[in-house]
Amino acid sequence: MINININGKEHAVDVDPDMPLLWVLRDTLGMMGTKFGCGIAQCGACTVQLDGVAARACATPVSAVAGLKITTIEGLSTDGSHPVQKAWIAHQVPQCGYCQSGMMMAVDALLKSSPNPTDAEIDAAITNICRCGTYARVRQAIHTAAKT
């Protein structure tokens, strides 16, 4: 059994210690907000926060997150009221939406460490792939979220 804390709730999971957090979330716990896009830490679709810092869950073994506070997209808010979610709606950011859970988790982590990021900081911190090409609106929405 491995004890993990997700969105403030304790879970005891009976899984291999080297099972990536992504698959524990999706296949063991049925939390589908965190997405699979590449499996090799390249795309960011699986981004979650560990103690508030962005991490790619596909490359994070579950054994490494015991004792840390894990936040997933479901933990931002359940009603869309988180400032990042509000900015995402205001700017109509998502197209297919598949990358956006990870994108928003990366952005929220950035705003925690840098509440009013410059474009250069955004470029350095947000390395998630959006195949639909929402980057222009992601940038606008980050600046909006930073103001709220």
Binding site: D16, M19, P20, W23, R26, D27, T28, G30, M32, G33, T34, K35, F36, G37, C38, G39, I40, Q42, C43, A45, T72, I73, E74, L76, S77, T78, D79, G80, Q85, W88, I89, Q92, V93, P94, Q95, C96, G97, Y98, C99, Q100, S101, M104, I122, D123, A124, I126, T127, N128, I129, C130, R131, C132, G133, T134, Y135, A136, R137, V138, R139
Partner: protein, 726 residues
């Protein structure tokens, strides 16, 4: 695990299963496309299906059915807006549901074609959708008029309320919907002039976005069923190869492994989680029979295409205006060039996946798709179960870009059906990103040999185009190839809008063993690049500004000219730029729309470009949701830049060399230019919007590089010209 299917029923699962299955009376109906509900399929007691597209409940809420897929392009909202516009309903009360493809069978195709390809969702269905809305509005008004016993002509409808002004009476749509549903639809209805639209034509919040920011399980890959197993699959790395053998014993006793399922050209490992299945699959020794193509390389394919460029034999001609040979011979100056583009992969963010559950006598399928009907027929084909017993659960698709419709939409469905059948339990099969990139239907490889002749004043008098490349029909419909011709492959040349008297276009078809398909912006993607870049070479040889030269030669193409002028104005073409910055321009029409782009770049020390700004101008005729048009144009810039700067699929030993985003590179935030989108909708026609934004962007960048360096960019990707990153 052991969750119930957790897809949101409001938006994803399509119709409830009520009575529609039982009736096949519709088959002989011959009903007008769009709104007649076949006899015997009347509304239920709880809600009123006013017609096939529209259900209005007693609480005034409006359910609008959408027959096309939503993969990010925004057409779900746009299509509902068109219905709502003519229905004159309260937009805040609208929700949507995807049409169950079985219903399209039992209702005799009342929903028209469901394939969501070719930027066609709005442009092919706007008329019957608007008629469905107008017809329903008329029925609601008639029902209210009957209740009041007044002439319908004295009643008015607006925002879901019918008013009889003379007697100051009002009724909500919900109050008369059931009565309206019993009336016969009007024979013909007049449609509003778009200038009077209140819902359509205005920027409108998309209906799918609220769910998409909350991580809701809204994609096929998110389905979780009781007792469900997970499958990972390895397909023959060489296209056309077969499974020879595999060593099941090597992994059978691993924890979390359930079974191994061989298929003709693939093998799947089934396990407790996707990770267990995928890890075991990677560890299992597999031998493949590569077939005839196990040695093919990109170099060989390139030489094969070069042979096509130089083929002096009998090559089919698609366009032959005037006498190109004579005009070239008499020209004051002749410009020649060869251009090339590679194969490209779609790489939609949601990997290919399919979940299958066999039920008593039937089957349920969840899969991301651009064509629900193709999923239905693939599932029927693979299972042998008749289509009316198969439920296709429709979900949002995490991208599509042509991969999930068109050439072979059913490959992943067939596999999941066979795997679920073999294991006797529900199965979710997910392709790894490597499988996705290595088993695509690629944007075809192509090459061009151009020759253009100028007269003494620098006017073009001849333009010869020889195309050598792989026809999409070679995969999608080989029987459709007649006389070695695929006219679609020559788009942008056969309809070259520039005013040149002598034009010849011919095609040396060169098909490889690599499967090809429809890739967002399809043949316009490579041909737009070829044509617009060579155009700049001609302008340069003529000593003329590429914008002004285009203007001169587009004098008979007013719509192309209008977007060209609009983009030049917005980008301030010809005005001074920051030191080291250069502009490039291009225009390509396609999918019924007109688009032009200007790119502003500077050159990095390593010879690669830094793209600072892309300005695009679009005329798609009528605009349904302007904000959505803007997002599609913004997205198309990213799509086109990823392809032009980095995109390349290469072949070695018959197989694809790239496998994931580490070697099939995508544009990121750090490379994202500023984007300006100018919309100049001229009305009078309905153009597509998902694809046409992409083709002019790559050539605008390449032309800016020509302006900066004097060296034309004659092959893609651009990154190959430099040694370090852009």
């Amino acid at each position: 695990m052991n969750n119930l299917p957790n897809l949101d029923p409001n938006h994803t699962s399509g119709l409830d299963r009520r009575s529609f299955l039982v009736s096949s009376a519709a088959a002989g109906g011959g009903f007008m496309l769009g709104f007649h509900i076949p006899a015997g399929q009347a509304a239920t007691a709880t809600d009123a299906e006013v017609n096939a597209w529209i259900v209005i409940n007693a609480d005034d809420s409006v359910l609008i059915r959408v027959a096309h897929s939503e993969m990010g392009q925004g057409s779900m909202t746009a299509l509902a807006m068109l219905v709502a516009e003519e229905l004159d309903c309260d937009w805040s009360k609208v929700r949507t549901e995807f049409v169950d493809p079985r219903l399209n069978i039992t209702r005799n195709k009342v929903y028209g074609g469901m394939a969501t390809v070719g930027s066609r969702a709005v442009r092919t269905s706007h008329e019957y959708l608007r008629k469905a809305g107008a017809s329903a509005r008329q029925m609601l008004v008639s029902a209210a008029a009957q209740r009041w016993n007044v002439p319908a002509g004295e009643c008015q409808a607006a925002a879901s309320v019918i008013t009889h002004a003379a007697s100051n009476r009002k009724l909500g749509y919900g109050a008369v919907a059931q009565a309206a549903a019993k009336l016969s639809p009007p024979k013909d209805v007049a449609l509003k002039d778009p200038s009077s639209w209140k819902i359509a034509g205005k920027s409108t919040m998309r209906l799918d976005i609220a769910e998409k920011v909350m991580g809701k399980p809204i994609y096929a890959i998110d389905v979780a069923l009781p007792d469900m197993l997970h499958a990972a699959i390895a397909q023959s790395p060489v296209f056309g190869g077969k499974l020879k053998s595999y060593d099941e014993a090597a992994i059978k006793n691993r924890k979390g492994v359930h079974s191994v399922v061989p298929l003709a050209n693939a093998v799947a490992v089934v396990g407790e989680s996707y990770w267990h299945a995928q890890r075991a699959l990677k560890a299992m020794p597999i031998a493949w029979d590569d077939g005839a193509n196990g040695k093919v390389t990109s170099t060989e394919i390139a030489a094969f295409l070069t042979g096509g460029l130089n083929d002096s034999g009998d090559v089919p001609v698609a366009r032959n205006d005037g006498d190109v040979k004579a005009a070239l011979a008499g020209a004051a100056k002749v410009i020649e060039a060869e251009y090339r583009v590679p194969f490209l992969s779609h790489a939609a963010m949601e990997p290919m996946n399919c979940t299958v559950r066999f039920t008593e006598g039937g089957l349920e399928v969840w899969a991301p798709t651009q064509n629900a009907e193709a999923i239905l027929s693939a599932a029927a084909r693979a299972s042998g179960i008749e289509p009316t017993k198969i439920v296709v659960h429709l979900t949002y698709s995490g991208g599509g870009f042509g991969r999930r419709g068109g050439a072979a939409p059913g490959d992943y469905v067939d596999q999941a059906v066979l795997i679920a059948k073999a294991v006797g339990r529900p199965v979710k099969m997910v392709w790894s990103r490597e499988e996705d990139i290595q088993h695509d239907f690629y944007r075809p490889i192509s090459s061009i040999k151009f020759a253009a002749g100028l007269d003494a004043e620098g006017n073009p008098v001849a333009w010869n185009t020889r195309v050598a490349g792989q026809s999409i029909l070679s995969t999608a419909n080989p029987a459709g190839i007649k006389n070695n011709m695929d006219a679609g492959f020559l788009i942008c040349f056969t309809d070259n809008p520039y005013d040149v008297k002598n034009i010849k276009v011919d095609y040396a078809m060169r098909n490889t063993h690599v499967p090809v398909g429809y890739w967002r912006s399809v043949n316009h993607s490579q041909n737009g690049y070829f044509r617009e870049c060579f155009f700049d070479e001609i302008a340069r040889a003529a000593g003329q500004d590429p914008y002004e030269y285009r203007r001169k030669l587009l004098k008979n193409a007013p719509k192309q000219l209008a977007v060209l002028d609009a983009v030049a104005k917005k980008a301030r073409w010809g005005e001074p730029l920051p030191p080291g910055h250069f502009h490039g321009i291009a225009q390509v029409d396609g999918y019924g729309s007109y688009v032009a782009a200007v790119a502003e770049i500077s050159m990095n020390a390593d010879g690669s470009p830094r793209v600072h700004r892309v300005t695009t101008a679009v005329d798609c005729g009528y605009v349904v949701n302007p904000d959505s048009v803007e997002t599609q144009l913004q997205g198309a810039v990213v799509w086109a830049l990823s392809a032009a700067l980095y995109g390349e699929i290469t072949i070695k030993n018959g197989r694809v060399e790239q496998g994931n985003f580490d070697n099939y590179r995508m544009l990121l935030m750090a490379q994202m230019p500023e984007v300006d989108v100018v919309q100049i909708p001229s009305g009078g026609f309905w153009g597509g919007i998902g694809e046409p934004g992409a083709p002019p962007v790559g050539p605008a960048v390449a032309n800016a590089m020509l302006a900066a360096t004097g060296i034309p960019v004659r092959s893609l990707p651009i990154i190959k010209r430099s040694t370090t990153s852009v």
